[in-house]
Symmetry: D2
Subunit: 147 residues, 4 copies
């Protein structure tokens, strides 16, 4: 049976993810907002701001990577038990189109959940639905750190 | 003959990189400073700040990726002609140790310069010389965008 | 307008890909077969064989990476002009489930076509439709090498 | 204290790695040979052979990835306890120069050993010391599979 057809291990995952997200100083600092959450999915929305640019006036690649990382991480966290935390092991990101627009949306989803490691993919689009970037991420479940 | 033994294509690369770095709103926003520059090398230093944290109080992975990206990009830019700009095509980053400490230093260097693409590696350490992360990056030389 | 709704630049791409595939000594050596081809898509099928195993009797990760690379590359080649060749710039692969089964199928598809670089994704499944691996690849169009 | 200055957990790692390597049907099939082994390091040597080529007569990218994977994996295995096995979680490889020459040598080394995951880097050179490719790999220690 597929994991997606099973109930979430923690039925209150929305509350847990929301709390963890608000504890990420950096997401707050750049003005990122948590969007839609579902079992195995998490969206993050980020409005444009000159503080987030690289030298040509596009969103900085690191900013795009940052919301890709958090969206993938929270997608994974929706599949965990309530007492487990998460760390990023590694990720890879390809930049596909210039990152311009009113806002970016990073759509994280679990590809393969696992006891130790969970593999996620995050696709980033702008407000005109241009595919800005895609990232493949490995998340690690930790029991000694909350969320 | 190895590219490293040749003179830089633009002898004023320091000035050019410094100008481009100061135009990166995002590097300024997070408080990152350009460190040592050499032909094929660029360092970026970043002091700790609660605004840059993830939920456990470590530097956010996206912040680490951001200085890895800029350090790799500027390492590549030191090898370019004066009228060429740079964009990141893709990168991959592995997180090796908890990103804690007074500051991080990202050491970018060119592994393989190229006409179209330049491959770089950035290693990130903290102030206790702990190896925090390593990234492998592909940079694209562009002629229609300045720096 | 989306590239997928446009006609292929080379209407005879099937013939061209098939010829290039049969020139890959290595694909022939491991017994890989070209499967379905479409504009922006290429499948490769590989039957099990003890010569292709790693030490636990699974398909070797390098074998999986090999068909992921060729499937992604030929997916890209279906979108090129008739006189252009292809080289792999880089790829990243995540192994998701043990690579066991009667055969593997690598499904390559173009995510973002480009003049210089084309980004592809290849998903690898076994004969029971288990998701064995996923790869993200950057392909380079070359004009000085055929196919 | 650095792990490299400590004695290996299994003083007989050479014997263990050699046995595991000879059980890799695929390494034998392509004619790869184990080279120098040391604590945290493993080399693999591969002679040229038309069976290992892509369509332009270079070594196939998948072949290069295969020896990169095995060299990184065996570098990690030299640091493990005698009863632990290894699986590849993911890797990323950048191709730097055309893979031509009499032979390739893949030099795998541990960057960051870990209880669950070990991060390695493999650099691939040809017989003229051209830097053909570089790979960053995550290896997983397993206790339910021997070597």
């Amino acid at each position: 049976m597929n994991w997606q057809t099973k109930p979430p291990r923690d039925p209150n995952f929305e509350q847990r993810v929301t709390k963890s997200f608000s504890a990420q100083g950096f997401m707050n600092f750049i003005g990122a907002k948590l969007g839609k959450l579902a079992h195995g999915q998490a969206d993050i929305v980020l409005a444009k701001n000159p503080n987030l640019n690289q030298q040509h006036g596009f969103f900085h690649g690191g900013v795009i990577a940052s919301i890709a990382d958090s969206a993938g991480g929270y997608a994974a966290l929706t599949t965990f038990d309530a007492d487990c935390g998460i760390l990023t092991s590694e990720f890879k990101i390809n930049f596909l189109n210039p990152a311009i627009g009113e806002f970016l949306i990073a759509r994280g989803r679990v590809i393969r959940p696992g006891k130790a490691m969970t593999v996620c993919q995050t696709d980033i689009f702008n407000d005109e639905d241009t595919h800005v970037a895609t990232a493949l991420l490995t998340m690690v479940r930790v029991t000694n750190l909350q969320n």
